[in-house]
Amino acid sequence: MEEITLKTREIAYKDLSTGKVDRVIGFAKGDFIYESNPTFISDIDELDALVWDSFCVNNLSKYLINELKDVKKIGIFLKGCDSLGFNQLVQDNKVDSDNVLVYGVPCEGMVDPNKLKKDNLLKGLIDIKRSGEKILLITKQGDKELKAKEYEYDKCINCKHPNPVVYSELLGDYITRNNNVVDDFQEIKEIEAMNSEERFDYWSKQFSKCIRCYACRNICPVCSCDKCIFENYEPGISGKGKVDSEDQFFHIIRAYHVAGRCVDCGECSRVCPEGISIDKLNRKIIKDITEIYGEYDAGLNTSKSSVLVNYELEDFDPFESIKGGK
């Protein structure tokens, strides 16, 4: 049994039994070895279901919004990227941090079962052990060692926050990731280098794949409006029809609505059933904000409000063409 799993059960048991928390949100195994699903435990007898392994990829922080309506105090297991989302929820006043105990778990990166499936490595898989740059696959046919970077989720490859930025308890040692200095915005720059016809072709092709399932919106920790504009079907506000213009409208406006608050957790691209690279849109805005308004810090600091709800008198002004006068 993985040491970290035992630690999670230990602390959950301690806090649930003393009443420090009323409910614990963590992960439990599903039907397949590569399924670690969100689970909600209020009963100490059920704590044996809690696990922590290399498939615990979901960001659990968004469940807090609804769960805190049911119970008073909640303990939740968060990784680095998840904790950024949590901070953003606190900053948006959707979650009261006094009612949440964050059990931070430093994360080396989660393994993508789709990548394993593509290379036919899922057959007979019994367990996975992760250590640094290597993954050890334990299968019925024997063990196999793999390079982590080839089988991690795309969002994990350039992880900047392997350690939780906010926590009440830290389960595990601090991790330093060796991110060979790949330019974060490399892909964005490639798209920017195209001319406008090519760019539009690229994006309209991506957007036409969209089936408007709204999985990206529902899993985003920052998209937490009580009544989303895309659920408002008054004529002209948002449209249900599946036409190219409505798909483009959805993606552009959603990217704009989370501008300045997006924590770059990568969940949106992960859950898209059609594989649209939504993060390339959000990262473009992050790049612009970094270049124009300074170091991007969504989710790092709950006291500072986000970029687009602030202003400076001497902000960068690309629109001033002829200065005043007649």
């Binding site: 599903g30 039907d31 397949f32 399924e35 699903n37 969100p38 689970t39 909600f40 979901n58 968004k62 469940y63 609804n66 899922l122 794949k209 089936i211 408007r212 399932c213 709204y214 999985a215 919106r217 529902n218 899993i219 659920e231 079907y233 004529p235 002209g236 449209g239 249900k240 029809g241 599946k242 036409v243 969940e267 992960r270 859950v271 059933p273 059609e274 594989g275």
Partner: protein
């Protein structure tokens, strides 16, 4: 039983595309779905499930019902001209074909849905059986035989090694085969023996699948008991309320009718809707299903209890797309298990 070798397939496609709009499962940027056939299509028959089910051919995601225009006090309504082209879908799996039949139960009973009927009649379906199941498949639990032609299939094919075997099922299929007679050969005795061997090995493979024990018939409580059960509180907790499961599902058929206001005129259209969305049963008086638990319960009660009560068949075909696509790994198998539908 006829057959065609893999290297002759491109000729077959060319010949078919002269008479039909041909759709094949092709791989684009790693995603396999039914797209119009082109010379450079990367056709892939080895992937069992296409990303989206083929239900959009008979039940498109967005369909205009009629156009309207207002000029002063006059309102004119214009019906759209029907598309006359015949289309052919090559490589529909038996689970997806059964799903078409389940949709027929809903749309083709009185009052008949003319738009659906017209599309259904225009289409020709060439089904392809499955010789190697995936871990997420459980069509057997719904009495679907992956090596048998479902009702409504025009031609049934099987891809075994370098051959695609071709069996006519309906008159439409016969006409098609006659049109392609130059390209198809007769299958030999050895070929038929090989098919038998594949059938036997498949049965043993099916028994090893993780979902082999799923049996919805074992859910024997009454409708009210299931509805009021405590199970729903627990299993619906992690549901995000996105529409992924409903949109990739081959049998989900809920739709909404909306108007597009184009200023001087507009159109009324029908589009897919998901019972997972918060405004799903929003009516003039309000919404009777205000929490995710109620919407979650509605989806699975519909598939496992209400629909079988009406049509004596389960509204699930065991394709496993929801198992793969759900962001939080909720799926119908977990629900069936919680409700008691498992052979222990």
């Amino acid at each position: 039983m006829k057959k065609i070798t893999l290297d002759k397939l491109s000729e077959l496609y060319i010949r078919i595309s002269q008479e039909y709009d041909l759709f094949v499962p092709s791989d684009e940027e790693g995603v396999v779905s039914f797209t119009p056939w082109k010379d450079d299509s990367n056709v892939d028959f080895d992937v069992l499930k296409t990303n989206l089910s083929p239900k959009s051919f008979i039940f498109p995601q967005c369909e205009t019902l009629f156009n309207f225009k207002s000029e002063g006090k006059k309102l004119s309504i214009e019906r759209l001209k029907n598309d006359e082209n015949k289309f052919l879908i090559f490589g529909v799996r038996p689970c997806d074909v059964k799903a078409f039949h389940l949709l027929d139960n809903v749309f083709l009973r009185e009052p008949m849905d003319r738009l659906y009927e017209e599309k259904r009649n225009r289409g020709t379906i060439i089904s392809m059986g499955c010789i190697e199941p995936e871990d997420t498949c459980f069509c057997n639990s719904f009495n679907i035989d992956p090596l048998c032609a479902q009702k409504g299939v025009d031609v049934f094919t099987l891809k075994i090694k370098n051959n695609i075997f071709w069996k006519v099922e309906t008159q439409k299929g016969r006409d098609l085969t006659v049109m392609l007679s130059g390209l198809l050969e007769e299958a030999s005795e050895d070929d038929l023996k090989e098919i038998e061997l594949v059938k036997e090995s498949l049965n043993s493979k099916l028994e090893e699948l993780p979902y082999f024990n799923i049996d919805p018939q074992k859910i024997d409580r009454s409708l009210i008991e299931l509805f009021e059960s405590n199970v729903w509180d627990e299993i619906s907790k992690s549901c995000l309320g996105c529409g992924s499961c409903t949109y990739v599902c081959p049998t989900c058929h809920c739709y909404d009718i909306q108007d597009y206001d184009g200023g001087k005129g507009g159109e009324r259209f029908r589009c897919w809707d998901s019972c997972m969305y918060s405004d799903f049963t929003l009516m003039a008086h309000g919404n009777p299903r205000t929490t995710q638990k109620e919407r979650f319960r509605q989806r699975f009660m519909h598939k496992l209890v209400y629909y079988p009560n009406n049509f004596n068949e389960y509204a699930c075909v065991g394709c496993g797309r929801c198992v793969e696509k759900c962001p939080v790994n909720m799926n119908i198998v977990k629900v069936i298990r919680e409700l008691g539908g498992e052979n222990k």
